[in-house]
Symmetry: C2
Subunit: 250 residues, 2 copies
């Protein structure tokens, strides 16, 4: 049985708490949050503390707070030589105070409080300063998800940038599509099978091979007509840049 303390109360913390609560081979011994907040039902109130000096003994301490608070929280921990990890995609492992053993436990997913996810399908990227800690993180992650990857801080940083492109930016393009539909009074739901298929397709074809559309065909007539129809300057600029990028690098 691996014992865990989760520090934080945001989206990532809550999804981890839920996954750990429901797992009989993990002992979620405590959760710290700065202030009172909502936690998943499965967490009994007696396990919640708002005082770092009350933290109890555990095999791993997972700091799931915003990127800019990680260093400070890790330096305030009232113990040494324990395994302390953060959950950030973009922060190097070394941002953690080195009075404890540093590590990373990064679940690569887009978490929103309003949307349930199948946590077992979330890949977890781990990193540690020694083989024993890495093994412990691997054991812990394997209990809650199907795929665990050992990834260096540098690789993780690139992965996080790639994730911004394939998730945050992609969602913003969905938003623009939605805006265009609202403007023309067309139901956005017409586009949902297309959105789903576009995401599914790359499980079978590389993104290069999966590319379709006017830019790929270099169909300049359609591209020009689209640019003439788009009134919003911001949308027009994005259309131009991405079309050019597909033509040059697609």
């Amino acid at each position: 049985m691996i014992s865990v303390v989760v520090i934080g109360s945001g989206n990532v913390a809550n999804h981890l708490i839920l996954a750990f609560c429901e797992n009989k081979s993990i002992d979620l011994v405590q959760v710290y949050s700065r202030k009172s907040t909502f936690f998943p039902d499965c967490l009994s109130n007696s396990k919640i503390t708002h005082d770092l000096s009350h933290l109890v003994e555990a095999d791993v301490y997972i700091i799931a707070v915003s990127d800019n608070a990680i260093a400070e929280v890790s330096s305030k921990l009232p113990f040494e030589n324990k395994l302390v990890v953060h959950t950030s995609g973009s922060m190097p492992m070394e941002i953690l105070d080195n009075k404890n053993q540093q590590g990373v436990f990064y679940p690569l997913q887009t978490f929103s409080k309003e949307k349930e996810i199948e946590f077992s399908k979330v890949p977890i990227c781990i990193e540690a300063t020694n083989e024993k800690d890495l093994q412990l993180l691997n054991n812990l992650a394997s209990k809650v998800v199907d795929k665990v990857y050992s990834i260096s801080s540098e690789q993780r940083k690139s992965l996080h940038i790639a994730a911004v492109f394939v998730s945050n930016f992609v969602n913003h393009l969905y938003k623009i599509g939605n805006d265009i539909c609202i403007e023309k009074n067309v139901p956005f739901e017409i586009l949902k099978p297309l959105i789903e298929e576009t995401a599914d397709k790359i499980n079978f074809l590389s993104p290069s091979k999966a590319q379709t559309g006017p830019a790929k065909r270099q169909d300049t007539k359609t591209i020009e007509e689209h640019l003439n129809s788009i009134k919003d300057e911001n949308q027009k600029e994005i259309y131009k840049l991405l079309t050019q990028s597909i033509i040059n690098h697609g």
Copy 2:
């Protein structure tokens, strides 16, 4: 029983042929292609013609050729006063020669020959010049797909632009994500659950509410670090423009 002739041999034509072949309440009487090519197994050779003057009688003629060939093909048809439709997202209905009854039968999906799709989930957008033709197209479409939408040429044009954003451009962002992974020797498959969840999420939340990431949080420190790490000028430009767009309009 509705009788149909399909004119064309590209991706859209082939997916329609397959859907019609397999449907017992549609009579696919003939397929025209300019030159010899491959067609789905279910189509018997005797139904294929390479000569427009050999076209047989049918309730609907579906022109599924590239956008810039639609007008010419429709003008070469050796008959009048029949229902002739095209399958294009971006072309107005009126591009069809008006010696026949014009219409549109636009399956909104990304089609690649190498990837099978569940055709029944593809929305079909229809348009016609009169109620009777619209009803016929609605009947035909309803036999092969679950959702049929009556959409004007102007709405269809906007829908097609929205589709470019949520599919063609999205796929290009997947390609950039893949490029970043290849460069840093990280398996792209780590990102696939994230890609899937990002697409799934908007079935539950509006794209605005689903937005996450450094731009949404206005986390300028992470944004700057990302921009410093991205060496490719084209990727950098796209990162900047989409980040700014999320900050201003996200």
